[in-house]
């Protein structure tokens, strides 16, 4: 038989297509209903309650965190300004410090070599103060949750 003369299968009509699709999906829907094993309504309700409560607590703690952060920032700023003021005072009264140093030098000979106005003294002291501050802030964050 010549393939060119072969009669083509007639295209299904729209109604036939709709019937095929409707039948297939209806059968699949029956199967899906039999497969469905959703959790009980009590469990879903309980989970929703828990999650909503958790989200509410999270939303409430957000402004609290901001207040804490502002307080810490204000404290740190205050501390730095005190340190800055103290350093300026030390620099301004270096003559007084020198006088004290000279009077102490007689009593404590080993301290005679120490120059309190030197950066090799002020820098470690400043670093120590800053690290105390940082350590206290870090300790707050570590133990805040507890």
């Amino acid at each position: 038989m010549n393939p060119g003369n072969r009669r083509l299968e007639p295209e299904p009509t729209d109604a036939e297509i709709e019937a095929i699709v409707a039948e297939a999906i209806a059968a699949e829907a029956v199967l899906a209903r039999s497969e469905a094993a959703p959790p009980s309504s009590a469990i879903v309700w309980w989970r929703a309650q828990m999650r909503a409560r958790q989200e509410a607590a999270l939303a409430a703690s957000r402004p609290i965190t901001i207040v804490h952060a502002l307080a810490i920032a204000a404290g740190a700023g205050l501390m730095l300004s005190v340190i800055g003021y103290a350093l300026a005072a030390v620099k301004g009264s270096s003559g007084w410090v020198t006088g004290v140093y000279q009077s102490l030098a007689a009593a404590a000979a080993p301290l005679a070599a120490v120059d309190l106005t030197s950066r090799w003294v002020t820098l470690p002291i400043t670093a120590m103060l800053v690290s105390v501050l940082v350590a206290s802030v870090a300790a707050y964050f570590i133990f805040a949750d507890e």
């Binding site: 959703p38 879903v44 509410a56």
Partner: protein, 182 residues
């Protein structure tokens, strides 16, 4: 703004923890609605996503979002359509996520069918054909033929114009039928 001390902050935090959350439905109404709709919604989710695990996850999420929404529902049908709209959007988002929960071209035939006496082969064919459709086409056909939803309800769920549903359904039907007959 009134001054807030740290003691006030602690008290507010404790109150927030203990506060009873406000959801859109009371427990009895929710449980009744859930019992009426959960099985059908699970079927919809599993067939649209092609993944049972995804269907389980998104089912819970859909009801949670329904409970959290502040939409005044006019009727049970309105609430149900809204639930299906949430579910449809969740499936779409899950597919578009950077780490998708499932593949877009998932083969539904890969889902293990429960033991049955006959027609297992045919069911696998239907699933395979359904899996070849786009998720929106699956949703269209499922809503139309498994749920018997009207065009306006389908449009409401899928977020498209009612006037375009007829054409979209026509194309989806032809595509599914062609794949089934192949």
């Amino acid at each position: 703004m009134a001054d807030v001390t740290f003691l006030d902050v602690r008290r507010l935090q404790a109150e927030a923890d203990a506060a009873d959350v406000v959801l859109a439905m009371d427990e009895d109404a929710f449980r009744a609605f859930y019992d009426r709709t959960a099985g059908a919604l699970w079927g919809y989710l599993s067939r649209i996503s092609g993944d049972r695990q995804v269907a389980d996850d998104l089912l819970q999420e859909s009801y949670y979002r329904l409970l959290k929404c502040a939409v005044p529902f006019e009727s049970e049908a309105h609430r149900r359509n809204y639930l299906y709209r949430i579910a449809t959007n969740l499936v779409r988002d899950a597919r578009r996520a950077p780490r998708p929960l499932f593949d877009a071209g998932v083969e539904l035939a890969d889902m293990p069918a429960p033991e049955g006496p006959a027609g297992v082969e045919g069911r696998a064919d239907v699933r395979r054909a359904f899996g070849r459709l786009k998720p929106r086409e699956r949703a269209l056909l499922w809503l139309a033929y498994a749920h018997g939803s009207s065009h306006s309800e389908i449009a409401d769920v899928l977020g498209v114009k009612t006037a375009s549903i007829k054409l979209l359904l026509f194309r989806a039907r032809r595509k599914l039928a062609a794949t089934l007959q192949r």
